[in-house]
Point group: C2
DNA sequence: CTCATAGTTTTTGTATACAATCTCGCATAC
DNA sequence: GTATGCGAGATTGTATACAAAAACTATGAG
């Protein structure tokens, strides 16, 4: 039923990793929308694991701010309030600035090339694959953070970027990526030139543009059936 | 066996919260030392809960970087490498600066008073209660972050400060608090005067002093028996 | 028609059972 | 004496069982 994936990545559980990855991707790509109910049985059934595993995964996603949990009422995709959203953006700005400060003084040609390659990927995906484009836009920032060489910074950036996907799903037009690829290119160019201040300015401008897109749209339907969606992410 | 604590705090589980709090405090106060084995059965027995609960708690502590987990080998109190330690300190510096930037422009007299009260607590504890002094020193920074009004910042500061306790346990003299109370007072004074730059400078100096205390001492014994320690934290 | 209510079904919280894996001691060979 | 296997016991990974709580449905009163 499920491929015997061996992902010797990091955490405790072993089988939970694939469920975690799938669910997370579904959220990031905005296939699952804020407010959607995450029933343990449903997820377990679709991914071919028991509730024990699902529960671990949901707790993890909750810790990252991607799902809300209420005692005795279960889990839903998080619906950050406007104030939470602002907090996330401010923290993100602070963290990504530090990433650029580090990168400016230690980025290698190899790093630049990887970044450039990623932007090409983004460009390609932007033309036909909506969901992947959203994910890739975020992953550019995650790649930056990971290249910075500070694992703590990398983890936190990963988290805030993911939460931003959620925020955009809530407050912006549906399926909008949170990044114009052009601005990513500007950051790379500034880094290549060794101009840390320009890179930071570009990032500031970039994130400010994203923040301003808060326009409050639909709060989603009552009880969507997530079964068919999960199937696409249970690979 | 266990007090029926009702802690309607935040997360998913209900009973797990008290185990989480107890275990966390034991780590912060350096009663449990880096490397100590955290056997699920032992913890469950001491806290009067099943392994299911313990497992949730350990996963949560792992996500926060306080415990290491290896597949099929279980959990131990985290032993951050020197490089991880540096990453934590750098992230902490970055986050706490932002906290002060925010505080400088919105701190109230009431906030100042709470901070001042906390430092008094620290002073009192420093004279007789070693473990509590360590915890209170960290909690000063957590209080600062929570007063900043940014929940994301607050959560991350909480995390890095906790990890710093661990780092100090590993690399500094045993039972040393990571803060001289005097420096906390300087930060309060700067905030009271509305001098944000002075506050940030004081914080920079403060954290730099902490960072420099990395001196690498003992890596702890092979297999300590944590049972008696847990009893003190299973209240 | 709206509201309240009782009973049924669904879903969550927790404990426990069982298999897979690891640890450690002990015997044996070299 | 050191190293190599082997086996008993301990520990973890996962599924399942069961009780408590919530959600839903349908019925009846006003």
């Amino acid at each position: 039923m499920n491929a015997p994936v061996r992902n010797p990545k990091s955490a405790a559980g072993t089988r939970s990793d694939s469920v975690y990855a799938g669910l997370r991707r579904a959220i990031i790509e905005q296939a699952l929308m804020p407010g959607d109910k995450l029933t343990e049985d449903v997820i377990g059934e679709r991914f071919g694991v028991s509730r024990t595993i699902v529960r671990t995964v949901l707790a993890r996603l909750h810790a990252e701010g991607l799902v809300d949990m209420q005692p005795n009422k279960g889990a839903t995709i998080a619906q950050p309030s406007l104030s939470e959203a602002q907090d996330v953006f401010e923290a993100r700005m602070c963290l990504e600035r530090q990433v650029l400060v580090r990168l400016a003084e230690r980025v290698t040609d190899d790093d630049i090339e990887r970044l450039q390659k990623h932007v090409h990927l983004e460009t390609k995906a932007s033309e036909h694959d909506g969901p992947a484009a959203i994910r890739l836009a975020g992953e550019f920032h995650i790649l930056l953070a990971s290249l910075s060489g500070n694992s703590v910074l990398a983890r936190y950036v990963d988290e805030v970027v993911s939460r931003c996907s959620l925020i955009l799903a809530l407050y912006s037009r549906p399926h909008s990526s949170d990044c114009s690829i052009n601005e990513h290119q500007q950051i790379i160019d500034a880094l290549r030139a060794g101009n840390s201040q320009a890179a930071i300015d570009a990032m500031d401008h970039h994130l400010k543009a994203v923040t301003d897109r808060a326009l409050l749209s639909s709060t989603s339907d009552k009880h969507r059936d997530i079964r068919s969606i999960l199937d696409r992410y249970a690979s």
